[in-house]
Amino acid sequence: MEKPPEELTALDPGAWLHRHGDVLFRYALQRVRDRDIAEVLVQETLLSALRGFAEFEGRSSERTWLVAILRRKIVDHFRDKPVVETQASAEYDCFAADAFRSHGRWRHAPSPWPRDAETILEKEEFWRAFDACFAGLSSPLADAFCLCEMEELATVDVCKVLGVSASNVWTRLHRARHLLRRCLEQTWFLKVDGES
């Protein structure tokens, strides 16, 4: 299918949805991990775009403009969620009890990953495995990881959005990294290695 040229940008949410709907939806879905919420965020993005169209001066592409609006909607979504103070997570406790012996020595140490791991960046299957691992995290861990690592907000801003302290955010990130690393090792790196 041929894409319409970008300069055709006009006040037309139907056309925006047609041209960018899937990209916006996927962007939101990866981050909020809920189809209904992602759909509402796309809808709110189009509404904001419609109302703020006067400010769009064509300095960026239509898609960049829409994604920028969506990113604000995503942060708003996390801000509106009820504050979860606790950093306790059964998933991590369970993981740590398995991964480490007493005195903090590895019981199940990280396995080596293939040398050509760099090539995964272009592999769609890898990112599908990543999204599945990310979808398995509890909200406190995933939300902090999304804001810090995907949206690249500064810690001080993440603290404001989630309503928790910096050390709380850092603990969540640390746990999310451990769990994601192990999940990818099990569902991707060791599998790929075994097949080849």
Binding site: K3, P13, G14, L17, G21, D22, V23, F25, R26, Y27, L29, Q30, E39, V42, Q43, L46, L47, L50, R51, R63, T64, V67, A96, F100, H103, G104, R105, W106, A109, P110, P112, W113, A117, I120, L121, E124, W127, R128, F130, C148, E149, M150, E151, E152, T155, A166, V169, W170, L173, H174, R177, H178, L180, R181, L184, E185
Partner: protein
């Protein structure tokens, strides 16, 4: 006193604590004692060296992907696309809310 606690950190750092320092290095940076403790630990611990390499790699990968996702058009399967019904719902809702103004 500071030197004493720094030396103690270097000598007693466990693998679990060293993984925590890897995260800390990503989020706020390490103070000199932490930095030396982690450096010496990964020098002698292959598992933690591997852990650090993998965590830093994943971090970089996630950031690269997040910055470029909006230009990939036909990436993803139907599970990550909007259904025709969802498109309809979105459009109707946008039009209705706009007319409510």
């Amino acid at each position: 006193m500071a030197i004493f606690s720094a030396v103690r950190l270097v000598l007693t750092l466990s693998c679990e604590e060293s993984t925590r320092l890897v995260s800390t290095s990503c989020d706020r940076g390490l103070d000199p004692a932490e930095s030396w403790a982690l450096r010496l630990h990964v020098l002698v611990c292959r598992s933690c060296r591997r852990f650090r390499r993998q965590i830093l790699f994943l971090r970089k990968a996630v950031r690269i992907r997040s910055r470029t996702v909006s230009v990939n058009d036909d990436f993803g399967d139907n599970a990550t696309k909007l259904s025709a019904e969802a498109r309809q719902r979105i459009l109707q809702s946008v039009i209705r809310k706009e007319n409510d103004e």
